[in-house]
């Protein structure tokens, strides 16, 4: 197991290095000079040159890449061109919203999807199953920003249970902050839960028709016992894969929802940074997201081995 973890860790590092190279050199070819963007079109050439020197834009590409990567490792992400403050601080401010939001949405996804998927699988072909399949079809098809707007209409404007957007900060108290994230998290979670419930249902149906379920019934287990003791863990393997993909998506893909709810999260930060050619922020946030995706995949790989003993021999 340790050998396997180390091996996966090795490939994680290689992925990170490759990703950093791709991100850095892709953004290098993006047109637009950050210095001239910051100073506007009427800037004096001397001022522009001085700013370029200050921002380190005049060094060779290799030098700039190296200093960027060293900065990433030591936590010094440089100074944002537009905000004029350390990128690490800006990112940290946004991360305390985006990370809890993603985890909150993921927990909701799992909490909704598991029971719904299991229910549909055990009552296959029944009205419940038909309702679940129809409902999740809708959940997948409807864009989450539309969901978000409907929920704002219902819960914020009509019922006045939640505010329509914004984030009071964690200083306002844990419950207050969580309350502000609830509607966005639901909007993010519903489509994901629909997907996951469908995966859970079909994975469970596959497992329930396996020979070992029949064997367990021949031992005297009730249907419910066979489901709990034998089917669920076996059905979990494909579900884990999807959960890993969803967490990555929830971290990076909340741009629209953050805009709908005026949440100052990572998504909005990237959006603004791109439109302002604040390449150093874009690079850092994209690298951070890549890092998160790779780490999540690493954890999913470890989870596979924990669930399925057959993989231990191949490790």
């Amino acid at each position: 197991m340790l050998r396997y973890a180390l091996k996966r860790l090795g490939s994680l590092l290689i992925s990170l290095i490759v990703a950093s190279l791709v991100i850095f050199f892709t953004l290098e070819v993006v047109p637009g000079d950050p210095a001239s963007f910051m100073l506007g079109i009427n800037a004096q050439p001397e001022t522009l040159e001085a700013l370029r020197e200050e921002l380190g834009l005049n060094a060779t590409k290799a030098e700039r890449y190296l200093s960027w990567v060293t900065g990433l490792v030591t936590g010094d992400l440089g100074i944002s061109y537009t905000y004029r403050s350390p990128v690490s601080e800006i990112v940290a401010e946004r991360l305390v919203i985006s990370l809890p939001l993603a985890l909150y949405a993921l927990i909701l996804t799992v909490v909704i999807a598991f029971p719904v998927g299991i229910l549909a699988a055990t009552k296959r072909g029944s009205l419940t199953d038909v309702a679940v399949m129809g409902g999740t079809q809708l959940g997948v098809a409807i864009p989450n920003f539309w969901f978000a707007m409907i929920m704002v209409l219902i819960f914020a404007i009509n019922l006045r249970w939640f505010s329509a957007g914004g984030f009071p900060g964690w200083d306002a108290g844990f419950l207050v902050a969580i309350k502000a994230l609830t509607v966005p998290a639901i909007a993010l979670a519903l489509p994901q839960a629909s997907i996951l419930a469908r995966v859970m249902r079909s994975s469970l149906l596959d497992t329930l028709s396996e020979d070992y379920i029949r064997t367990s019934r021949a031992k005297g287990l009730t249907k419910r016992q066979a489901l709990r003791r034998h089917a669920l863990r076996n059905a979990l393997i494909p579900v884990l894969t999807i959960i890993g993909l969803q967490l990555s998506f929830l971290l990076a893909g909340a741009i629209i929802i953050e805009n709908v709810f005026f949440l100052p999260g990572l998504g909005r930060l990237v959006f603004q940074a791109i439109s302002q050619r604040d390449l150093i922020v874009v690079e850092s946030v994209v690298m951070l997201l890549v890092f998160a995706v790779i780490v999540v995949n690493f954890l999913v790989d470890l989870a596979y081995v924990w669930v399925d003993p057959r993989l231990k021999d191949r490790t």
């Binding site: 020979d211 070992y212 031992k219 005297g220 016992q225």
Partner: protein
């Protein structure tokens, strides 16, 4: 009172009649063989006893186990019965166990479900059951997972689960069909031993008459959901009256009418062939170890000859087949067909490859279900670089006993036997010289198998075909081949004329294989309708 008494049991599933007035009874300590071909209802009879029937099933009649009315029992009573008073063993040991649980936990579960005992006590009882099934703790610790065991060992675990609580009845549904002959013999003698120790009754379901002969005290023969004949194991074969029983018996020992090949020049020559695979690297430095699947094998097949290749799972016969077809790179040696090497570089040489075709075991999964039969049969034409004419397709279908109009149908419209005919038509269509039959009749019922063997014998005569017949079923190999090779652990351990090898085997492994084959009683002089 009988341990199990079934009288006039009828079963229908969604309105389709599956069983019709089936009656049989099993006494304690009795092995009762239930024999029939696919669709005979033998497994459904067993699942009726367990009441583990598919949705939409309705039973009528009477079914009593140890006095309990099974058909009218509620689900809680049935759960209490399953595993406690009746245990069940299934055909496919590779999938019958939960891959994520240790074997100890799975056997202990039977005890935990039925008795209010501690985990430790359940594990102790599980150990006891595994030992009775000849899986001792020092070589097979209970912490093993199913994938760490062979098929035969897994079947022992399934049996241990079924007998952990010493049930009064054991239902074994084709328990040895998926196993090698030597493993089959071991499992059958294990079942015999358990019956002698505990005095439990056994319902032994099989399609193979030979498996139950000499083992079963009583035999029931079923066909299309109806019992056609019943009798004592010792005398049924002698006294059988029903034409179906006779036909089944004749098909089991069917000898296709074939003429021996004339010794001719070699068609396929396999010289010192070695195929090995790199094993997963255990150390960072040093070369990884290699597994030698085919170890310095040499033989030849003469034109018009039928050569058998027998051996148990894992002996390398499939790898050798793939190598002959040019699908495996070789680490040593050369394979030539008609003097030309099969491989050119790492790829099969198409001009050589078109002279041989293959028929696989599973008629259900070896066809693309989205293509019509005409297209499926014409597939080998890519080797010739042109498309098949309608006439060629029709001739191929006709020569295997199908009709030209079958070419517009899809594969799901055909039975297993018909599909295997289509597979043979596909192999025949470009008139190859060598046909490799890789377990080509193993998945078929005995009566269908007899027809396919006749077809193969007939085609060989008509087209002068050469066969390489690969099988784990020794009786089939004996009936259709001129010469036979016995393969073990990648090596050919014995080679000779089929009759000589079977009558006087020299290698101990060949002897063990032949001894393990269940035999039908010799019925010379009794009319069983064999011509």
């Amino acid at each position: 009172m009988s341990l199990l008494s079934i009288s006039n049991l009828s079963l229908s599933i969604h309105g389709t009649q599956i069983l019709e007035r089936v009656s049989l009874s099993i006494e304690p300590g009795e092995i009762h063989g239930v024999i029939g071909e696919s669709g005979s209802g033998k497994s459904m009879t067993a699942f009726s006893v367990m009441q583990l029937l598919p949705d939409g099933a309705t039973c009528s009649g009477e079914l009593r186990l140890d006095g309990q009315d099974v058909l009218h029992a509620d689900e809680a009573a049935l759960c209490a019965m399953r595993g406690e008073r009746v245990g069940m063993v299934f055909q496919e040991p590779m999938t019958a166990l939960n891959p994520l649980m240790t074997i100890g936990a799975q056997v202990a579960e039977t005890v935990l479900i039925h008795e209010n005992v501690s985990q430790a006590e359940a594990m102790r009882r599980a150990q006891d059951a595994l030992e009775r099934c000849e899986l001792p703790a020092d070589t097979f610790p209970m912490s093993r997972f199913p994938h760490e065991l062979s098929g035969g060992q897994r079947q022992r675990v399934v049996i241990a689960m079924a007998i952990a609580l010493r049930p009064k009845l054991l239902i074994a549904d084709e328990p040895t069909t998926a196993l090698d002959v030597t493993t089959q013999a071991e499992i059958l003698s294990l079942i015999r031993k358990l019956v002698d120790e505990d005095g439990m009754g056994v319902m032994l379901i099989t399609h193979d008459l030979a498996v139950v002969s000499g083992l079963a005290d009583h035999i029931t023969i079923m066909r299309n959901g109806v019992v056609v004949e019943q009798g004592e194991g010792a005398t049924l074969y002698r006294d059988m009256t029903h034409p179906y029983t006779k036909a089944l018996f004749a098909a089991s020992s069917h000898q296709p009418d074939r003429t021996e090949a004339k010794a001719d020049a070699a068609l396929l020559r396999v010289e010192n062939v070695t195929r090995s695979y790199a094993l997963p690297r255990k150390a960072i430095f040093g070369a990884p170890k290699r597994f030698v699947a085919v170890d310095n094998v040499s033989f030849e097949i003469k034109r018009g000859e039928s050569l058998g290749l027998v051996g148990e799972s894992g002996c390398g016969k499939s790898t050798l087949t793939r190598a002959i077809l040019g699908l495996e790179p070789l680490q040593g040696g050369v394979i030539t067909l008609d003097g030309s090497p099969v491989l050119s570089g790492r790829q099969a040489d198409l001009s050589v490859r078109r002279k041989m075709q293959v028929v696989f075991q599973d008629p259900y999964s070896s066809f693309n279900p989205r293509h019509k039969v005409g297209r499926l049969v014409a597939e080998p034409f890519y080797l010739l670089g042109r498309t098949a004419t309608d006439e060629e397709i029709e001739v191929a279908l006709t020569s295997v006993g199908l009709t030209p109009s079958d070419k517009v149908k899809y594969i799901h419209e055909f039975s297993g036997g018909q599909r295997q005919r289509i597979a043979i038509a596909r192999a025949l269509i470009i008139r190859p010289e060598l046909i490799i039959l890789d377990e080509a009749v193993s998945a078929l019922d005995v009566s269908i198998r007899a027809q396919i063997l006749d077809l193969l014998a007939d085609l060989s005569k008509r087209f002068g075909l050469t066969y390489l017949f690969i099988s784990h079923d020794l009786s089939v190999v004996r009936s259709i081949t001129d010469r036979v090779l016995v393969m073990k652990a990648g090596k050919i351990v014995e080679e000779g004329a089929t009759e000589d090898v079977f009558d006087t085997p020299h290698h101990p492994y060949t002897q063990a294989l032949i001894d393990a084959v269940p035999k039908l009683p010799d019925l010379d002089g009794i009319d069983i309708g064999r011509s």
